[in-house]
Symmetry: C2
């Protein structure tokens, strides 16, 4: 039986490994790539090669960055006494797009999920507690997603943070429950930030 | 305002150029790529670089191939007197997967679409007529998609082919109308091939 020429099959196989891309999508994308300008494909390939090579995780907030510490952690204009905790860097960028937050961030790297084997040790929890003590943080805003795991993680963090003498708040429940933080629109996110309440 | 580090933004921008990948999908894919093994990303980048470089279009049937002529055009076991005409190489592979066709192929490169500026000159029509005369073809099976454009293209080709003294047939109308040939299952495609009728 005739099948795809090897150069096509290799691209299809590599694309299929990406989340949300099935065999049919991989085939369609490969045909689209065949029709693109060679320069555009080279750009994509070059960007892929440099993606991990040129990025580090900031040793302070654990966001992806070109420098360590990152641009936010080293920005003197940002309030050093407020820390906003997000699950992933995507959420950090969603909040930055509102322009409504001027403190610092901490990227957890996920949520507590015992069934998936994710406990506090798999997340940046100890480094968060360490930062709060080192940086004399006054308020920690917990901005985990409004999901079961996100709420459980927020409650766990609150119980660990309150003994350190900081104010702990979370984003207002203006967020649609069960949704994903990164898909909220800027206005909703701004309201949620302004209306944050004690946890 | 803080935005993505440049190495991430470059990947996002490159992925957004692909059909069906919007800004949010591009962001999600980029984060997924950041978590992949470096070797897997290198594989994808390498496959992309070699995709166009290692492929040619077969000068006989116009399918993508590593050699010119392609493996099907040079295969002595395939019936040289039957030509099956498809819009795109995807369709050729869908038919090959049925195992029910043993002749040769001709890839048109699209369908007639006057509104999009696609006339017979933009498709491999002249080369098809030339092949039919050169290769002493006895039957041409028109396997354009069962859409308005596909049917119009089939009728146009029939009118050009019949004066050459060949039998012209099309796939049986067992195909779901308005659908896409490449998404049909193997059984439906096999039936359509067996039940082909005069055009």
């Amino acid at each position: 039986m005739f099948s795809y020429p090897l150069p096509m099959q290799r691209v299809i196989d590599a694309l299929k490994r990406l989340p949300g891309i099935g065999p049919k999508s991989a085939e369609r994308l490969t045909f689209a790539l065949l029709r693109m300008e060679p320069a555009e494909i080279e750009q994509l390939a070059d960007a892929l090669v440099h993606l991990q090579r040129d990025l580090v995780t900031c040793s302070i907030c654990h966001a992806w960055s070109q420098s360590d510490p990152c641009a936010i952690c080293t920005d003197p204009r940002r309030d050093p006494h407020t820390l906003l905790v997000v699950e992933e860097m995507r959420d950090l960028l969603a909040l930055e797009r509102t322009g409504a937050y001027h403190g610092k961030y901490h990227v957890l790297g996920g949520v507590l999920s015992p069934l998936d084997g994710v406990g506090p040790e798999q997340l940046e929890v100890e480094s968060l507690l360490h930062r709060v003590q080192q940086e004399q943080t006054q308020e920690v805003i917990l901005a985990t997603n409004p999901t079961v795991e996100g709420d459980a993680t927020a409650v766990y963090l609150r119980d660990r943070l309150l003994p350190l003498g900081v104010t702990v708040s979370r984003l207002a429940r203006g967020l649609p429950i069960g949704g994903d933080l990164e898909y909220a629109d800027e206005v909703t996110l701004t309201r949620a930030l302004e209306g944050r309440g004690a946890l």
